[in-house]
Amino acid sequence: MRNECMGIVNLTKKGEPRISKINATRPISSTPIAGRYRVIDFVLSNMVNSGIKNVGIYAKEKYRSLTDHLGSGKDWDLSRKKGGLFIFSPENTKYYNINASRNGDIYNLLANIDFIERGDEEYVLIAPSYMICNIDYSEALEYHKKSNNDITMIYKNINNADEDFKGNLTLDLDGNNRIISIGNNVGAFPRANISMETYIMKREDLIKCIYRIVSKGSHLFLEDFIIEELNNIKVGAYEHKGYLKCIDSIQSYFEISNDLLNRDVAKELLYSDRKIFTKEKNESPTIYTDTANVKNSFIATGCVIEGSVENSIIFRKVKVKKGSVIKNSIIMQNCTIEPSVELHNVVFDKNIFISEGKELKGDESYPIVIEKNISM
């Protein structure tokens, strides 16, 4: 059972989105999410659950937080003799230094092309980390094989493009799901086919592509190349029908946290047979005291809850003392909320200490974000 498909997690993006302070010191891919995960856990788990056993992560910068999180890949079952998990970065880029302005994904792929060349899989799947979903890529691969496409892109059809996914690429499809053109969602119309920036193609074709683009010097990004070549190669589309959120702003980060409190979304994303794996931590069960009052919230383990928590996501080892009220908020690992604190619409990064009686209230669409290691 030779493995059919290798995975590439492409962390290089045109104008990498910045959520806000919470990723001042870490890339989006290692941003904490959903109580115990990091953003990248979703794409990695999707790959693993789809039978992909050889994954290269093409990082661009500040990848230390990533390596800390991923370790040997064991927790994703990617610590393997053959294949496994590999993280690449411009550090060991031969070509990169030649021209520092060549900072698109193509040059990062080129710099570590030996990973792609060495693989013995027939296909490759390229995906970003910040498109959060729980998807079975093997179905998309089957579709790709049957369709005779040169490249298959995965997309989601949405009807709120005037509100969400602004700035994302949109696909214009013909009746046979072939992509005619690729545009940009400026938010003018509600219906759109949003590109999930996920590509399936033959491994050999990707290698040829990269060398071709580089030798012509025509593009910095794979997606630009594909846009130009739409008439010359057959680019098809595969529809993802499930939940999708693109984490590219503090608003969308806050929105997905709200979405998770919807049981249907949570069941699809987190409670599916296709489990989301993350770094194993060994915390004791969470303690609720007699004064605890928790409603409609996610709580990770290792917490001690003495106060009230509503519509919120509480990460590991958070202490919520008596009389405190947390509403519509995200509290990351290791925060301490002293007694009688009132928090509405806030995002607390790791290790925040907030002392007795304090009050912080943000707005639903403009939550207050506090960076890590602050004591107030």
């Binding site: 959903a34 109580g35 115990r36 927790d75 049981r263 949570a266 987190l270 409670y271 489990k275 989301i276 794996f277 993350t278 194993e280 931590k281 060994n282 915390e283 004791s284 069960p285 969470t286 303690i287 609720y288 005291t289 007699d290 004064t291 605890a292 009052n293 928790v294 409603k295 409609n296 919230s297 996610f298 709580i299 990770a300 383990t301 290792g302 928590v309 996501i313 509480i314 080892k317």
Partner: protein, 383 residues
């Protein structure tokens, strides 16, 4: 390289008194405290005490125990020279023998111990809940120049007759071992934790093979024989939380202790972590109309009803309108809507359908592992 001390954990018991929870699972693998299995405590004690070679002796339904322990990496026991091994009975050229008792189980695994050529062996029981630094006990063993050291704990005088009692001289040396005495002379109960000089213990086993006189059990056979031989045995006084969880009542009690006396057995103490084989599960979800008070809740739970003074293990689901009180719900139990459960222990992966009532009648109610309780059923019997 010679090891100073290795540990042998007796995990062989069928645990018939925990019957309903041990149909598929060996006793030390029974769920405890929401996300642990009983044996996690003694394995973590070994790891935290710096012991890197551990044999786990079992002959009863080892599958879940085996896959729980795996390569030992969760307890940091996946070592190049050493590690944790599950040791079952095996056949040699002549015959195959099941373990005939605690001491016999050790005797049958002399090869394993000899492999590491240790100076000391600590014998442990797989079904006790406590935190103990065996390196301190070893220090005591060396200081006393002891050949066999038995850890003891003070129990209430009125309970002493339920235990194996050690009668000691002033210097801590043991002059008598009283198994469940009707008139105890001391309240120092054996914790089932022994450190032996391996050469001495080996000597007894070797002579047993020569003479044909068997020492099957430590408590009944070997310890009395050693006392008779005056080998120099000392009692090591341990202070702290210690529970034998061999019965339904004691297992329930120990779970409740985690809620009501969370300071005595702090599971979050970073200096003495209790490790376990963790599951990849989402965080717990507490619903809009849920109430959770005075409880311990693990990963992957989904609570839509009310929970009070209870332990919810990982993957438990509690439906709308259900009320769980004074109960221990083991991993992956699914509880439907409008269920009432009071003072109960519900075994792993049991399913309790809608409108079931498990009523409090002073005794602890039990639902077996994998049992399916049909809608509207009313359970009143104790265990």
């Amino acid at each position: 390289m010679r090891k100073e001390m290795i540990a042998m954990i007796l995990a062989g018991g069928q645990g018939s008194r925990l019957g309903v929870f041990t149909k598929r699972i060996a006793k030390p693998a029974v769920s405890f405290g929401g996300k642990y299995r009983i044996i996690d405590f003694v394995l973590s004690n070994c790891s935290n005490s710096g012991i890197d070679t551990v044999g786990v002796l079992t002959q009863y339904r080892p599958l879940i125990l085996n896959s729980h322990i795996g390569m030992g990496s969760h307890w940091d026991l996946d070592r190049i020279n050493g590690g944790v091994y599950v040791l079952q009975p095996y056949m040699n050229e002549k015959e195959g023998n099941w373990y005939k008792g605690t001491a016999n189980a050790i005797q049958q695994n002399m090869d394993f111990i000899e492999n590491y050529n240790p100076k000391y062996v600590v014998i442990l029981s797989g079904d006790h809940i406590y935190k103990m630094d065996y390196s301190k006990m070893l220090k005591y063993h060396k200081e006393k120049n002891s050949k066999a050291t038995i850890a003891v704990i003070e129990v209430p005088w009125d309970e002493a007759s339920r235990f194996g009692i050690m009668n000691t001289n002033k210097d801590g040396s043991i002059y008598e071992f009283d198994e469940k005495p009707s008139n105890p002379k001391s309240n120092l109960a054996s914790m089932g934790v022994y450190i032996f000089d391996w050469d001495m213990l080996k000597g007894y086993f070797n002579s047993s093979e020569m003479t044909g006189i068997n020492y099957d059990d430590f408590g009944h056979d070997l310890i009395p024989k050693m006392l008779e031989d005056n080998v120099g045995m000392y009692a090591y006084p341990f202070k702290g939380y210690w529970r034998d969880v061999g019965t339904i009542q004691s297992l329930w009690d120990a779970n409740m202790d985690l809620i009501n006396e969370s300071d005595v057995l702090d599971l979050n103490d970073s200096r003495w972590r209790i490790y376990t084989n963790t599951m990849a599960m989402p965080p717990q979800y507490v619903g809009k109309d849920a109430n959770v008070h005075k409880s311990l809740v693990a990963d992957g739970c989904s609570v839509l009803g009310s929970v009070e003074n209870s332990v919810l293990s990982h993957g438990v689901e509690i439906g709308k309108g259900s009320i769980i009180k004074d109960s221990v719900i083991m991993p992956n139990v699914k509880i439907g809507e409008n269920v009432v459960i009071e003072k109960a222990m519900v075994g792993e992966s049991a399913v309790i359908e809608n409108n079931v009532v498990v009523r409090n009648n002073d005794e602890i109610n039990v639902v077996s592992e994998y049992e399916v309780v049909k809608p509207e059923a009313v359970l009143e019997g104790g265990y």
